[in-house]
């Protein structure tokens, strides 16, 4: 007798759960997904490029897949594109009735096959041990799952000072050669390590979910690696489906779920026919992404008019300027993902940690310069600035960030998604601003040793939702009450429906969280079937 498992979603959480379940005997695993795909002409261009050396690429193919979006003045950095397409953010039906009050971003639910991992920064780092002081389990309990995930995805990392809080765990490739600017910053850190650390900063190389050794440094990381060397959850599903370990059912938007006589079901609408269908299983793992999962629970349990708080690790941008510019302003012949991390512990144990990812020049950076520098006459100034700039993309932990709220109202008819409104949190932003000032202050004091100075007038806090690092609507608890979930992601009254994405995180630390989402989903799925 087999046990039917249904995973809803195909992003990193879904991949984490699937990896825990796919080899387990006696299970049949189905994945129910919206399944939005890259346009055929873009995929064809990508495929042609993947079969050739960069020097042999057709100019038209390169143009097609390397398009970037125009930045909005509000957020300064443009929304990313993947192979020249907006498909990770596009509304395939999953964004129906999503609205926001104020300047909150509404492209918060991905309908793409692989979810937002099609366009992520690939930063892959475990949470610090002290992060779990606020969680109902320890990092040691999650360690086997971290290791299982790191053993299943590409991973490029090197042992350095960051391992004092964030162990590497797993076999890693070396990173490709760094850009000139980041390389100089890291060398300055080596030279002045004690001084820099005395000012409360640790610096180390990026850790990325990429095949570092295979990388040909074509410079297209930020718009999509034509060779698929940068991990996406879609790669896991391509493999699991190809190996016959998982059945993939695309083209559905999940609307609600529940349990009848102890057996869970998910109701979903077909995007092609518009018809409602019910998918039954013995166990359901909900991995649609924190907001989509929250909506699914709200719709299923009738959580109308209630403001549900989402914890978010607030993002900030801090351009770093060096006195010495790089010799050549180009993204060609280098990899352009995050290259180094600045970590700032604000306590001894590594609980209150701020992290800044350092990015080298890429063409989107130039577009994001202030409007005043855009006229052609200022091209020289623009170039001089860009040659000296490294973009720092920083994150504060959720307990220092305002987060945001989300509210749902009942749909007018069956077969529709509920209206979802994103609202600014009523939490005081004073703490966030104070902490950001403290971060910048540390950067300023350490600046002479690192050879870069933060461009103080350009430091900005991104609008809520913009970090995409949010969750905690149904946080894990040993003794769940109200909206909390138990340690295997079950919200009352369900017994066989498990939330496995960031919606169940008790907190969202400033260290990037995709690896931890995958590991936690893996842990839940593993635990549910342990001993069976």
């Amino acid at each position: 007798m087999t046990t039917d498992v249904l995973i809803v979603g195909s992003g990193p959480a879904a991949a984490g759960a699937a990896l825990a379940l796919c080899q387990r005997p006696g299970l049949t695993v189905r994945v129910l997904d919206v399944g939005g795909r890259l346009e055929q002409d873009h995929e064809a261009a990508r495929l042609r490029m993947s079969q050739r050396e960069p020097s042999a690429w057709e100019a038209t193919d390169l143009r097609t897949i390397s398009q970037t979006a125009v930045p909005s003045a509000q957020h300064r950095l443009p929304e990313k594109r993947n192979f020249g397409s907006d498909f990770p953010f596009r509304d395939f039906g999953q964004l129906d009735a999503v609205s926001s009050a104020g300047d909150l971003n509404t492209h918060v639910i991905s309908g793409a096959y692989g979810g937002f991992s099609n366009t992520w920064g690939a930063q892959t780092m475990v949470f610090s041990e002290a992060t779990f002081d606020d969680w109902p389990f320890t990092r040691r309990e999650l360690e086997p799952d971290y290791r299982a995930i790191l053993g299943s995805i590409p991973y490029a990392a090197e042992e350095d000072d960051l391992a004092e809080y964030f162990p590497l765990w797993g076999e890693a490739d070396r990173l490709p050669p760094l850009g000139e600017g980041p390389d100089r910053i890291l060398k300055n850190y080596e030279r002045h390590r004690v001084k820099v650390r005395g000012h409360g900063l640790l610096v180390g190389k990026a850790r990325l979910a990429m095949r570092g050794a295979a990388c040909v440094s074509c410079g297209l990381c930020m718009t999509g690696c034509p060779y698929s060397f940068v991990y996406s959850a879609s790669h896991t599903f391509d493999q699991l489906v190809g190996d016959g370990l998982v059945e993939y059912v695309g083209g559905y938007v999940a609307l609600s779920m529940g349990e009848e006589q102890g057996r869970p079901f998910v109701k979903a609408r077909s995007l092609s026919s518009g018809l409602l269908e019910t998918f039954n299983a013995d166990k359901v793992f909900v991995a649609c992404g924190a907001l989509s999962t929250t909506r699914l629970v709200a719709q299923s349990l009738g959580l109308w008019s209630k403001r549900i708080h989402m914890s978010e690790s607030a993002q900030f941008i801090v351009p770093l300027l060096s006195m010495r510019g790089v010799n050549e302003l180009t993204q060609d012949d280098s990899f352009t993902l995050n290259q180094f991390n600045i970590v700032m512990p604000f306590d001894e144990v590594g609980h209150d940690v701020v992290q800044i990812h350092g990015y080298p020049f890429n063409e989107a950076t130039g577009d994001a310069l202030p409007q005043v520098l855009q006229p052609e006459a200022l091209r020289g100034v623009r170039s001089a600035l860009l040659r000296r700039a490294t973009i720092g993309l920083g994150y504060l932990p959720s307990w220092w960030s305002p987060g945001f709220d989300v509210q749902f109202s009942s749909p007018e008819s069956e077969g529709q998604l509920p209206a979802m409104t994103l609202l600014a949190s009523s939490a005081d932003q004073g703490l966030t601003k104070r902490k950001l000032r403290a971060v910048v202050q540390r950067l300023v004091t350490a600046a002479p040793y690192l050879g870069v100075m933060p461009a103080l007038t350009q430091v900005s806090l991104s609008a809520p939702t913009k970090s995409y690092h949010f969750g905690a609507s149904f946080p894990h608890s040993r003794a769940p009450q109200d909206d909390a979930s138990d340690v295997v992601g079950r919200v009352a009254p369900w017994q066989s429906i498990h939330l496995v994405d960031a919606s169940v995180f008790p907190t969202v630390p400033a260290t990037t969280f995709t690896l931890s989402i995958m590991a936690n989903a893996h842990r839940i799925a593993r635990t549910v079937f342990e001993g069976t």
């Binding site: 390590r193 004690v194 005395g198 306590d347 001894e348």
Partner: protein, 289 residues
């Protein structure tokens, strides 16, 4: 019947004051101790001394049979921070990894009260970096206070020598958490022999700080000296010591040691763990010198 292998306790830094005191005390308790040294003395071939150089990668075999390693080695001779980091921090991390890889079950790292969050002292920052690696490996860190007692060594011996000066410099606000050497030995014996020791930072010192002036006056009295204490502006002295270090002049007090005196740790960490383990630390007094 096959003889059960004896449980070995390894001690690095066995030629130093604390490491040496430990080796003698643990052996006096009939424990089997391996003393690690950069050079094994001629004629010692019973395995009680093994070669280990913090600056060089160690072979796993050097930890054969060792179940508990007390890592007390630290090279204070290197004043260039970059080289000191490479030698002590990178060396200690490498040592930790090799020891655990070789099957050592418990590592106790002898850190310092100078290692506290927010310190800017190079010595404290380096000790903190090793502490992090030790804690990430779920091992044990101890931070001894200013160790004193009969046959003192280390910093206390330097202070005792200074107490013989006709005028004794003291610094406004300077204070120290103190630790009698017997309490240190007793604490380490407990940490070695207890079945369950949590991975934590445990401060080994009496929780009431003693002012630097009181320490120096006590030392002067013990030396039958009637020298007066004079408050000295420490910034000026620090600048002098740093200048001397840059010129390669070796002085009895390092700039880092002075910083440790004038910017001491804000408190003794891990008092709850120490209490659970039954560790006690007597207050500083002349009778105990």
């Amino acid at each position: 019947m096959k003889k059960r292998p004896e449980r070995l306790i390894g001690v690095t830094g066995s030629t130093g004051y604390l490491g040496g005191s430990l080796v003698s005390a643990l052996r006096a308790q009939s424990l089997n101790v391996v003393a690690y040294r950069r050079s094994v003395p001629d004629g010692v071939n019973d395995g009680s001394v093994r070669h280990l150089d913090l600056g060089q990668p160690a072979d796993r075999g050097v930890f054969d049979g060792v179940s508990c390693l007390i890592h007390a080695a630290w090279d204070l001779s290197e004043t260039d921070p970059r080289r000191a980091w490479e030698l002590n921090v990178a060396g200690s991390k490498r040592l930790l990894e090799t020891a655990l890889d070789a099957g050592v079950q418990r590592v106790i790292f002898i850190s310092s009260m100078s290692a506290y969050f927010g310190t800017r002292q190079p010595y404290g920052l380096m000790k903190l970096a090793v502490e992090r690696a030790v804690l990430e490996a779920h091992q044990v860190v101890v931070r001894p206070g200013l160790v004193y007692g009969a046959h003192s060594g280390g910093m206390f011996l330097t202070l005792a020598k200074l107490a013989h000066l006709p005028v004794i410099p003291v610094f406004r606000g300077a204070q120290q958490y103190t630790l009698h050497v017997d309490d240190f030995i007793s604490a380490l014996s407990t940490l070695v022999s207890s079945r369950d020791v949590p991975s934590a930072v445990i401060g080994l010192a009496n929780e009431t700080p003693t002012s630097f002036k009181d320490i120096m006056q006590t030392l002067a009295e013990a030396a039958d000296s009637s020298a007066k204490t004079v408050v000295v502006p420490w910034h000026a002295l620090l600048a002098l010591l740093r200048a001397a270090e840059r010129l390669g002049v070796v002085l009895p007090v390092r700039s880092d040691s002075l910083l440790g005196l004038v910017r001491p740790a804000p408190g003794v960490p891990g008092a709850d763990v120490a209490a659970q383990l039954g560790l006690t630390f007597r207050p500083f007094s002349r009778d105990q010198l």
